[in-house]
Symmetry: C2
Subunit: 217 residues, 2 copies
């Protein structure tokens, strides 16, 4: 089946959103924690977090300025700090519920039943129930004029992760931590490892890699 540009354009808006959101492939599932300058907390489900580089350690995400995540965007710009917390199988339904349009003075943490965790010297709330949590500092804010969305690039300045999922070589076993993947706007998936593959070289056949899980870094 083929869809040309006009076929896509002519789809009803909700159908087009579900369709196009399916096409990037599986997405990351993260809860972004922020607060305003009065320390009122906010929590948003974001599926657009993407790796930008590891030195310095940078993650980007896309936020639509008039979407339910608009308070997240305002808080990050005003306070410079935020947290990114992996959504796992135990909390994915609550994570999805944060996408409801709550009033500005209502904390999504309380509304959906997740626990704020404040850590020393960090001015944004983490999600206690998440097993991979990052403290972020805003580094760059880029307006994407092509469709009037905002890209937020932040540096990872702190990582909390349970000991049992870090491997000797630095790999974090996010499958073992129960981290989920998202498809389209509303679908959540657990994962099963197919394999770790060795670094590819032109004249070498593809080789699977044994990685000892649960060893400490």
């Amino acid at each position: 089946m083929v869809f040309y540009a006009d076929d896509i354009k002519n789809l009803p808006s909700r159908q087009r959103a579900l369709f196009i959101n399916s096409l990037s492939g599986f997405k990351s599932a993260n809860l972004v924690g922020t607060c305003n300058t009065n320390y009122y907390s906010n929590l948003s489900m974001i599926s657009s977090v993407v790796h930008i580089g590891s030195n310095p350690p940078l993650l980007a995400m896309i936020i639509r300025p008039h979407s339910v995540a608009r308070h997240t965007l305002e808080n990050i710009i005003n306070t410079q700090y935020y947290t990114i917390n992996h959504v796992n199988e135990t909390i994915y339904q609550q994570a999805h519920q944060t996408s409801a349009r709550y009033a500005i003075n209502e904390s999504e943490f309380k509304a959906v039943g997740l626990t704020e965790l404040w850590q020393e010297n960090f001015s944004a709330p983490f999600v206690k129930e998440s097993r991979v949590k990052m403290g972020m500092k805003l580094r760059e804010h880029i307006h994407l004029s092509v469709n009037k969305t905002e890209m937020i690039i932040g540096e990872i300045i702190r990582v909390y992760v349970t000991d049992d999922i870090i491997c000797d070589d630095g790999y974090v076993n996010i499958e073992q931590s129960g981290t989920v993947a998202v498809s389209s706007l509303d679908s959540y998936h657990s994962t099963s490892l197919l394999s770790h593959l060795a670094y590819a070289k032109p004249s070498m056949p593809i080789k699977k890699l044994n990685r000892s899980l649960g060893d400490k870094a």
Copy 2:
């Protein structure tokens, strides 16, 4: 276990790359097909494709200018067209092998054993073995000065997808098509649906959604 900014900075480079690349969560797995102005083809595994918007339908990806994907970047800038093809369980090992540093005159298609598919009125090669394939037109090229990487934003101007994975409401069942998810730099995962969740509203409990798979849009 906690890592502060200095702990991350002090990790050996390969270990930091595996560690930081794990932290965004699961990533999309796509093969990007291009050609140069002489129609010599090129194929790159890219795990940074991310949804930017559905109207117009836009996807972004991040490319490091001196990485093995540098020819992909040059070809896109020179020809304006490229393809994005989902990596599935059958071809993920070949897809990974495209990340080997082949010579500029050697096509990764041939080197790894995947089939070029040229479609009428589209000047970049698709991957025949992929079940979700998109034809892309370059819309914006943004230099990210924060770490000297390049972001390519393209519009989806054509979609090829097998009939049996499109639902009435526009959702594409990428799990049924065998699309894989990536963690860190080298790990590939199949997925299992946890559930589709209904659109969230503040005063409503979370509800699972029944979606009839295999119906045509």
